[in-house]
Amino acid sequence: MSKKITIEPVTRVEGHGKVTIHMDNQGKVYQTRLHIVEFRGFERFVQGRPYWEAPVLVQRLCGICPVSHHLAAAKALDVIVGAGTGEGLTPTGEKMRRLMHYGQIFQSHALHFFHLSSPDFLFGIDADPNIRNVIGVALKHPDLAVQGVMMRKFGQEIIRATAGKKIHGTGAIPGGINKNLSVEERDEFLKGADPLNADKMVSWAQDAVEFFKGYYKANKEFIDNFAHFPSNHLSIVRKDGAMDLYHGVLRAVDAEGKKILHDVDYQEYNKYIEEEVRSWSYMKFPYIKELGQDHGWYRVGPLARLNTCDFIPTPLAQKEFELYKSLTNGKPNSFCLHTHYARLIETLHAAEVIRDLLNDPDLLGDDLVIKGTKQKEGVGLLEAPRGTLFHHYRINDNDQIEMANLIVSTTNNNEPMNRSVNYVAKSIMDGKQEITESMMNAVEVAIRAYDPCLSCATHALGKMPLEIKLYDDNNNLLDAKKSQ
């Protein structure tokens, strides 16, 4: 008898989603899908609003990465107010935004690794779910838990100082920023009491990379064999090929490292990227037009970024990058769980960038905003923690938004997430008579690797019930299990 297994909701991710696994008469998995079950509708209800509201309005998509939406929208509106396409802001405007962005990367990566994913590594994916969570980490590994919490706090304090609030601030405005950094704020971040200072954050970020390397050494087979499949990779990179998470040109490489998008201007992204709609999910499936739907899908996020960039422009992260690249002989890395490794190298990079920026006197300047000849349309891209984020707006003659198109990071990762889920379900559930909790968690581990913000929805971090349901081929419920 064929079966349909539903995992709903998926736990320890941001947002709400479910996974359905269909098995045939022989117990073979023949279809697995990650469904996004919420509809947000921001692209529609931003229409008619004055354009300068967009950075504040659209950031409400998310409570984890609002800064990314805030800045991507502001970058698109920079174009509309004639402030250039990412390189025309005043030094203070540009650097304050970068500080905000790297603070966001730092806090979000810390949240993702320490709070959401580390329980799987510290306790094992088949450990008792009662301890396989952030509380379990705090009880069994208090030093690591404190490190995670304080790293996140530091990043959020950076956001507060640049955006006005830790969550849903207003710092970035079209053409620049609405505040500079005070000397007191800067000194607090540079010389603050241990551990909340930039040097300590760099040191802790190094420790986190070492932690993962140690884990990898002991669990190489598991890490390398978990949802490993080739893909294209896409991100923005600096014009010289360096990693740049705030601004750059659009680059994509295939599984062999060959460039398939050649450092193009993202203002013309819709010449290169298309989105496909499928009936069973509210999330679209983007792909590179030239390669088509079947071959043009790509990964975004930390794994992709370390595959597209040529180097990392900060010394400590560059050293780790070289070691990381040597694992695949310089070729693109397609090991799903190496995403965590890449994420921690980026965390180190973010800590270094933050420290460098804090030592830059431009942050204290008073020239905050620049404007030029107004345009009707603008595109803003940046690398959010989860991957490339696209914001595109068009306004009418009365300064009201008449069109918005957002391609969020998780949407870009839709196809690879579905493939990862399918890969894991096939490899661990095929032919099994009983579906265990650890099997379900393994499916979730694949999703968590992408650090997904499934609906870009705000919700409190907490334990959500995991439920599995078995159906026969007539959709009759045969059995149901809930996690503890």
């Binding site: 008619g48 004055p50 300068w52 950075p55 955006a163 006005g164 710092g171 505040k179």
Partner: protein, 231 residues
């Protein structure tokens, strides 16, 4: 000859010039009575009723009632505070006040009163009315979603000939405050700024200036509305 009179607000002995409106007299004595439709330089109108006080068991609007000798005024009592809170709640549910994306957030008097009276969930159902955003003026946007019909803009924003830039249109539930098309197109930057300042909420916005004031510098970021009134 002095024409000072003595009166009491919630048992506090006060003195003020006879004939002053209660709101002003209270302010001089360091007592805050909340207002929304009232603004300095404009004849009080008693429209919003948020300043309602009780005098001799009668409910009176403090912005339109002159002070008199020996007056006993009840102001900061649970019954009246709940009435004020109910008015704030009604204003919220009858419009579309989405504070998170409003550039007046932190400077908005309605929002500040909601905080002062600890409004969490309104007791009335939300109406979610369909409202227009008029962005046709070169200087300002009139967002009908947020208008509370206080008339402050109608009464205070006028051109050199005394003509109001704003006026009421329609009646009953269709009532709205609209910008005169012709005057709106010739509005100066200074006049646009005055119009935005006159609005206690975020219904009148100067174009392309939104969010230029950082969080921390807004009017009610650090202290609640009314806390500036003290002796």
């Amino acid at each position: 000859m002095s024409n000072l009179v003595k009166f009491r607000i919630d048992k506090t002995e006060c003195m003020a010039e006879a004939g002053k409106y209660i709101v002003e007299a209270a302010k001089e004595n360091g007592i805050y009575i909340p207002t929304l439709c009232n603004m300095p330089g404009v004849k009080p109108q008693g429209a919003c009723r948020i300043c309602t006080v009780r005098i001799n068991n009668r409910l009176m609007t403090a912005c339109t009632t002159p002070i008199a000798d020996g007056m006993e005024i009840e102001m900061d009592i649970p019954e009246l505070n709940d009435l004020r809170k109910a008015i704030v709640e009604m204003l919220f549910v009858s419009g579309n006040h989405f504070c998170p994306a409003c550039e007046k957030s932190g400077d908005c008097e309605l929002q500040a009163l909601a905080y002062r009276y600890q409004m969490f969930v309104p007791r009335f159902p939300y109406e979610f009315p369909q409202k227009e955003v008029d962005a046709s003026s070169t200087r300002i946007i009139k967002d009908q979603n947020r208008c509370i019909f206080c008339k402050r803009c109608i009464k205070s924003v006028k051109d050199e000939q005394g003509r109001s830039y704003f006026a009421f249109r329609h009646r009953g539930h269709k009532l709205e405050v609209v910008l005169d098309k012709e005057l709106g197109m010739s509005m100066s930057e200074e006049k646009a700024e005055q119009a935005m300042q006159s609005c206690p909420v975020g219904s009148i916005l100067v174009k392309e200036k939104g969010f230029s004031k950082p969080i921390g510098k807004r009017k009610f970021d650090h202290s609640p509305i009314g806390s500036d009134i003290k002796l």
